[in-house]
């Protein structure tokens, strides 16, 4: 809060009544002084005054309280029975903004920006956009928001990565009276929006782009002889405004927070609706969230063959959306509420009700809609409560809307009342005897005050036979019509008249079926029955299961490390002890404590391993699971600035599936769509951890490079022939160019006068051997080439991955010191793997290369032990050596062999208990332990599956109820198994394969 507090001083003090624009006609003399009497005023979340009076003068509240003197000569309203709330404030609105027009799709790549003018090089960075400058009044949007109870919003253009500044506007239909602050905050997201520029094509690209833009702005402040960049100028100019960050899923909060920390600033998060899953983390991060009231629709689940396919995650998203605020409130995470995306006031109040039924307190809801946003924006001097001196923004309801179903009657914006639903003051309900043309007709009027309904008795002998009659009421004008078939009249009797409420009588004239005009009247015999007290919102008992992660097989709490003793198994140590029969492994504090026979359990959980095998956890040197929104930043040939570590997705079900195959750690690599791709994430498969918690601490730094067909876009169709390079010859020069630029950058850096370049920083790390290359490669010419590049630049290629022709140059690789991480037997999927042979791993090993077998495939990742076993068949490796290909050797290639890859005292307790010989075709991983924590236990798998099934059934029946009640629903769209491969472009995985 402190950060934004000084905004108050920036805001001009808002004075009304003086206008600068000319008026057509004589000066308007609207009354600007009102008194509202006898009304219940909810002043603030914590204060309510019954039968209060509010004085409004010139758009501000002059006085509010129980005993207020009403000056003479002002307009007075008696609002008895009604409730007044402070008008709501939405910090996440996009009203009155220009329409987004995207350029038409082209098959050809778009490398540069198409924005005319002296702006930033990337179309999705447009901080210069000013909502204040572009704001046009949208009367429809204003009306919609006022109907929900809002009085002012912070509006912005929701497009792009750096979206520009937002304006604070009143929901006032006169544009000259609307904009209170033209630049109140700036807005960001990871979504490049309508930009068709190639870069960024992934979330990690967006992350790098924001960071680079921020660094550029910092540099631009003092840059000399620099041409104008209006975007950077705006970034600097608006830097101190509050910053909002719009997220599409909860993990993006962590990603944005990291950027905020780097630049010593703060983001307020415009939430995605699933923040409940990280509520505690949000508290720890001290994050503030604008929670969406736009809840997802239910699926149409009437067909069980369809509903059985809906993933638990999707069902939970629907059920938990209304609980979002509840979880945040429980963890004291400060939040505001937003109606962004909500279609109507009916939906808005329905969703508020749903939210309150989860147990969020009224004061929290009201605060989140009023005083919280006002305080966050530093405008609580003028907004957020109904207090003396504040701007007269409030809303009149027929009841307290937080307690029962109510109607919005009026919205007062800056002291001007907008009528929303007319107030029917006069209550005509009761029993009457109408006298029409001298004949008596008993009538009973029921229904509501606003919509009365009536019945008449036409035959005095049959008092029970009631005929419906039509009643229309507008103030005290009433129309009554009924059809008669008695002896008096045959046909329609149409009456119109006025109701005198003091006397409780009708008087008027009407027409009989025969066309005769007559006088009619009626006197009330009985008062209307009292309204039934309105039902208060009920708080549901149940708080649904939140797991880590959400969805199938989630942990009910984040598991912690245990002391475990596995007894009497065959232990493949990969160390000096080799394979130890009938031995035990003791695990404590996440480490291997002891290996040997007859170990004392000493309070440890004991697992009988008789007849079973223990190996170090499998390490997948090349994996693309657990990555959010894009594995390739293919927008440019060199994208060293992006990092997979920025976009780790701990909720990918493939993490759990791979644990079931004994995988405990993996290198998540950038794809191979460009020559110098992105930085790697080295993770442990800690299912349910935070993105940061998945990363291996103090891991060595790695980066992906790539050669060959993918880099030169050989299989990308006939349109992708523009980006350099298109040949292997060009690929070499990309590397020389990159590293040469990095060297020059280093010199520039030494002068102290330089622009921080995230890409060159990383290339420099490679040159300094602070970061290691894993290079996608296939044919011997290019393998040779890269080793030459490295030699001449003074570094080593750490690992060649794929390296299917490694067997041809294994001697050279060994001499250079490069390792090889390959497939056991893949080939024939593209031309450059024509000479791939399954003997490759064994042959490289024979020549002294450190060799690993990797997956590059979510499916194969579950059975890397079997893939390793193929090297026994092809090339005759010993079984112990074969096992090392997926354990110790990848640890070496990742420079983690001091902590992983073998079962030796002091190493990380990443171990797998196998049902059988780990290389045999029928071996199952029974238990997988990561850092001393059991993350997979085949025995409990069924139990968890049943828990999930029960949870699915429960939510499905709830959803079916919602279907039956007629709530909005949509058809379920089944998505196939989507995965990232080396060559997958864009933010979505692909169902197509052959891309490695």
């Amino acid at each position: 809060m402190k950060k934004f507090a000084w905004i108050v001083f920036l805001l001009p003090s808002i004075l009304f009544g003086q206008i600068t624009h000319p008026n057509n006609g004589v000066a308007d003399s609207k009354p600007e002084y009102y008194a509202i009497r006898n009304v219940k005023v909810i002043v603030s979340p914590t204060e309510t005054i019954d039968k209060a009076t509010i004085l409004v003068k010139n758009g501000r509240i002059e006085e509010v309280g129980k005993f207020v003197m009403i000056p003479k000569g002002i307009v007075e309203y008696d609002y008895s029975g009604k409730t007044i709330l402070p008008a709501f404030i939405d910090l996440n609105a996009s009203i009155g903004m220009p329409e987004l027009k995207s350029t038409p799709y082209s098959f050809r790549p778009q490398m540069g920006s198409k924005t005319p003018g002296s702006y930033y090089w990337n179309e999705s960075i447009h901080p210069e956009f000013s909502a204040g400058k572009e704001y046009v009044v949208s009367t429809d949007d204003n009306k919609k928001y006022r109907e929900m109870g809002f009085g002012a919003v912070l509006t912005h253009l929701n497009d792009g990565v750096a979206q520009g500044s937002g304006a604070f506007v009143l929901l006032e239909n006169d544009v000259y009276q609307s904009v209170l602050h033209s630049k109140m905050a700036t807005f960001y997201s990871f979504d490049k929006g309508i930009s068709k520029q190639d870069y960024p094509s992934s979330q990690m690209g967006s992350i790098a782009l924001i960071r680079q833009a921020f660094y550029d702005a910092e540099w631009y402040k003092n840059a000399k002889d620099q041409t104008v960049d209006l975007s950077l100028e705006s970034l600097n100019e608006n830097w101190d405004l509050p910053k909002f960050f719009s997220v599409e899923e909860n993990y993006e909060v962590f990603r944005a927070k990291k950027i905020a920390d780097e630049f010593k600033t703060e983001f307020v998060f415009l939430g995605a609706g699933d923040e409940y899953a990280i509520a505690k983390d949000l508290k720890d991060l001290k994050a503030k969230v604008v929670v969406s009231l736009n809840f997802p629709n239910a699926y149409d689940v009437h067909d069980p063959y369809v509903s059985r396919q809906i993933p638990l995650t999707q069902l939970q998203k629907w059920e938990l959306a209304p609980y979002n605020a509840k979880y945040l409130a429980d963890f004291s995470v400060p939040f505001c509420l937003s109606a962004n995306g909500v279609k109507s006031s009916d939906d808005f109040w329905k969703n508020v009700k749903k939210m309150m039924e989860t147990g969020v307190k009224q004061e929290d809801v009201l605060a989140a809609l009023t005083i919280n946003p006002a305080k966050w924006m530093g405008i609580d001097k003028d907004f957020g409560t109904i207090e003396k001196g504040k701007i007269a923004n409030f809303t009149v309801y027929d009841n307290n809307p937080f307690e029962s179903k109510s109607q919005v009657l009026e919205a007062w914006v800056k002291g001007i009342a907008y009528e929303i639903n007319s107030k029917q003051e006069i209550d005509i309900r009761g029993k009457y005897n109408l006298v029409i043309d001298g004949k008596s007709v008993p009538i009973e009027i029921k229904g509501t005050v606003a919509k009365p309904e009536g019945t008449v008795v036409l035959n005095p002998n049959e008092r029970d036979k009631k005929t419906d009659c039509f009643i229309e009421l507008s103030n005290n004008d009433v129309v009554i019509q009924f059809s008669s078939d008695n002896s008096n009249w045959q046909g329609s009797v149409n009456l119109k008249g006025k109701f005198n409420s003091r006397m409780a009588i009708f008087e008027g004239s009407g027409q009989l079926p025969n066309g005769k005009w007559v006088i009619w009247s009626g006197i009330r015999n009985d008062r209307p029955e009292k309204d039934e007290p309105k039902k208060k919102f009920e708080v549901g008992e149940l708080k649904p299961l939140v797991t880590f992660p959400m969805g199938a097989y989630g942990n009910e709490k984040r598991p912690s490390s245990q002391k475990i003793l596995i007894n009497n198994a065959t232990v493949w140590t990969n160390g000096s002890n080799g394979k130890m029969e009938k031995s035990s492994v003791l695990i404590a504090n996440g480490k291997i404590a002891q290996v040997g026979r007859n170990l004392s359990s000493d309070g440890a959980q004991v697992i009988d391993g008789t007849g079973m095998h223990i190996t170090p956890g499998i390490i997948d040197e090349h994996s693309h699971i657990a990555i959010s929104k894009g594995v390739n930043e293919g927008g440019q040939t060199v994208t060293a600035e992006v990092s997979i570590a920025d976009v780790v997705d701990p909720s990918d079900i493939n993490i759990y599936r791979q644990l079931s195959g004994g995988v405990t750690a993996a290198q998540l690599l950038h794809g191979s769509a460009n020559a110098i791709g992105g930085q790697s994430a080295l993770i442990k498969l800690k299912w349910g951890e935070t993105p940061e918690g998945m990363l291996i601490t103090n891991a060595p730094k790695f980066i992906k490079c790539a050669l060959g067909e993918n880099v030169k876009q050989a299989n990308w169709g006939d349109f992708n022939t523009v980006r350099f390079p298109q040949t292997r010859m060009g690929v070499e020069q990309v590397f020389y160019d990159g590293f040469t630029r990095a060297r020059e950058y280093e010199k520039q850096k030494e002068t102290g006068n330089y622009r921080k370049d995230l890409e060159l920083e990383i290339l420099l790390e490679i040159l300094k051997s602070e970061r290691f290359i894993t290079c996608h490669s296939y044919v011997q010419s290019e393998i040779n080439m890269l080793m030459h590049v490295a030699d001449s630049m003074g570094f080593k290629v750490n690992t060649f991955t794929h390296i299917l022709e490694g067997y041809k140059v294994a001697d050279k690789m060994a001499a250079h010191g490069a390792g090889g991480s390959t497939f056991a037997d893949w080939w024939a999927y593209k031309f450059e793997v024509k000479d791939a042979i399954p003997y490759n791993a064994a042959m490289m090993q024979e020549q002294g290369v450190v060799v690993a077998i990797n997956s590059d495939d979510a499916e194969m990742g579950r059975r890397l032990n079997q893939e390793a076993a193929k090297t026994v068949k092809y090339g005759g490796l010993s079984e112990e050596d074969a096992l090392k290909l997926v354990t110790l050797n990848p640890a070496k290639l990742l420079r983690l062999d001091d902590r992983m890859g073998s079962i030796e005292n002091g190493k990380d307790a990443d171990v797998v208990l196998w049902s059988d010989h780990p290389l045999s075709v029928n071996a199952r991983a029974e238990i997988t332990i990561v850092d001393g924590i059991i993350y997979f236990d085949r025995k409990s798998q069924n139990e968890i599956h049943e828990r999930d099934n029960a949870e699915r059934a429960r939510i499905l029946s709830k959803m079916l109820e919602a279907n039956k009640k007629g709530e909005k629903k949509e058809g379920f769209i089944k998505k196939g198994n989507k995965h990232f491969h080396c060559n997958t472009m864009g933010e979505e995985g692909t169902e197509n394969e052959n891309q490695h």
Partner: protein, 440 residues
């Protein structure tokens, strides 16, 4: 003396005997084999006698002493395992060479209803992929086209031969139908998020298939055909029963619809390829006698909710439900991956099948479903001599090492380009001084 007792050299080769269609031997007796018959039976120390192209004798080498003089050649298989040739049904083997190179892909024809398209004639016997598959013991494959609703007609082929004509075991064995996707009837395009529209669209796709079958059935029963229609004509044998109809489908709704559809048209040999959800309707499948070629064992569960090992367990579930099944390998890189079909079967032994049941799922069961079990699929007297010998258990990666094999009594070539490259570069290293690793 034309009697020889061969002592086999381990390694790849057996190259003295590896060439196509070698001149037929009169008779060969294999003795002391660890025989896996393929029908579920195992026999230690078996003697298997081959005369011409047929298996003429199976006896115990131990209890029944064979007369050496009766046989032209005697081969001692002590400690070695003998298996019927493995079968890879539903494959594009021989129709594709390099997946990413369009000019080498010959399996997807233009058109929606293509029963007249015959995979057989595009089958490239010299495919380098085939050689690597054959040398892992896979000797028979059903070569199957892809694409469209009716993709075309498959044929069951030998994985060796001079040309497609002499490689054919069963020409035009069946027509393949891609049953419309229940969730995405318009293939590829994601349907509108409207349950009713999606259903409507699925129904209309089903109607198109029904119409085609109705019309082609009428055509095939018609006595007076005035205008020839190659598509309808190609369907004729399906109704008569000499061609099978293979329905490719996975979803519950699809499978139930296929059962009804097969009954409606009185199809004699409907087969489901895929059948991921088959385990949910075992009694219906058993009663309607529709066999299932299960999805690739090495595939991921369809949904996050499914048990992580469901694809591994499907064979066991179908076995328990008494539904006839075999394994196939359709999917990513299926041609080159056909060589791993033994290991797909092997994997199921960790999930409920015995080794011999797993073997049956890639030999005899496959041949029964393909309709060639009278001659192929198991090592039994009277069947074709199509088998291979492995150094150890062939369903495990470590011990699958094919030493020799026969197809219809002819020795098969076990060499392939990958072995050539292995030898070539091994020689390179053997003949050069070893380079020492530079100090880091």
């Amino acid at each position: 003396m034309n009697k020889t007792i061969l002592t086999l050299l381990i390694g790849f080769g057996f190259s003295s005997l590896s060439f196509h269609a070698q001149k037929e031997q009169k008779s060969i007796l294999f003795i002391n084999a660890h025989l896996h018959k393929g029908n579920g039976e195992v026999m230690q120390g078996a003697a298997v006698g081959i005369v011409g192209s047929k298996i003429e004798l199976i006896k115990s080498s131990v209890s029944d002493k064979q007369k050496v003089e009766d046989w032209d050649t005697i081969i001692d298989l002590k400690n070695q395992h003998m298996y019927p040739g493995l079968v890879a049904p539903n494959s594009t083997l021989g129709l594709t060479e390099v997946d990413a190179v369009r000019s080498t892909r010959d399996f997807d024809e233009v058109g929606t209803f293509n029963p007249h398209i015959r995979a057989l004639i595009a089958y490239n016997v010299e495919s380098e992929i085939i050689a690597t598959v054959r040398s892992n013991g896979v000797l028979i494959s059903q070569i199957t086209p892809r694409g469209g609703v009716i993709t075309g007609t498959s044929s069951v082929m030998h994985l060796d031969g001079w040309n497609w004509e002499d490689a054919a075991i069963r020409e035009d064995d069946g027509v393949h139908v891609n049953w419309p996707d229940f969730f995405r009837p318009n293939r590829g395009a994601v349907s509108a998020a409207d349950e009713d529209k999606r259903k409507e669209s699925y129904e209309s796709k089903k109607k198109e298939i029904r119409r085609f079958f109705t019309e082609s059935k009428a055509y095939s029963e018609s006595k007076k055909i005035t205008k020839t229609d190659l598509r309808y004509a190609a369907m004729k044998d399906c109704f008569e029963g000499s061609k099978r109809v293979f329905f490719h489908a996975n979803e519950l709704q699809q499978l139930l619809d296929i059962i009804d559809f097969s009954k409606e048209f009185g199809l004699k040999f409907p087969v489901i390829i895929g059948g991921y959800d088959a385990y949910l309707i075992l009694p219906q499948l058993r009663d309607s006698k529709i066999p299932v070629m299960l999805p690739r064992v090495h595939s991921l569960p369809e949904s996050e909710n499914d048990p992580v090992d469901l694809p591994y367990r499907l064979p066991q579930l179908l076995k328990e439900g008494e539904v006839k099944f075999c394994l196939q390998n359709e999917g990513d890189m299926e041609a080159m991956n056909a060589r791993n079909i033994a290991f797909l079967a092997g994997h199921t032994t960790g999930y409920g099948l015995t080794e011999e049941e797993a073997l049956r799922a890639i030999t005899l069961s496959s041949c029964e479903i393909l309709g060639i079990d009278q001659e192929y699929g198991s090592i039994e007297v009277g069947k074709q001599a199509t088998f291979f010998v492995s150094k150890g258990p062939a369903l495990d990666m470590r011990t699958n090492e094919v030493l020799m094999g026969m197809m219809d009594g002819k020795w098969i070539n076990l060499n392939d380009r990958q072995k050539d490259l292995y030898k070539k570069y091994s020689n390179k290293y053997e003949n050069q001084p070893k380079m020492t690793k530079e100090k880091k």
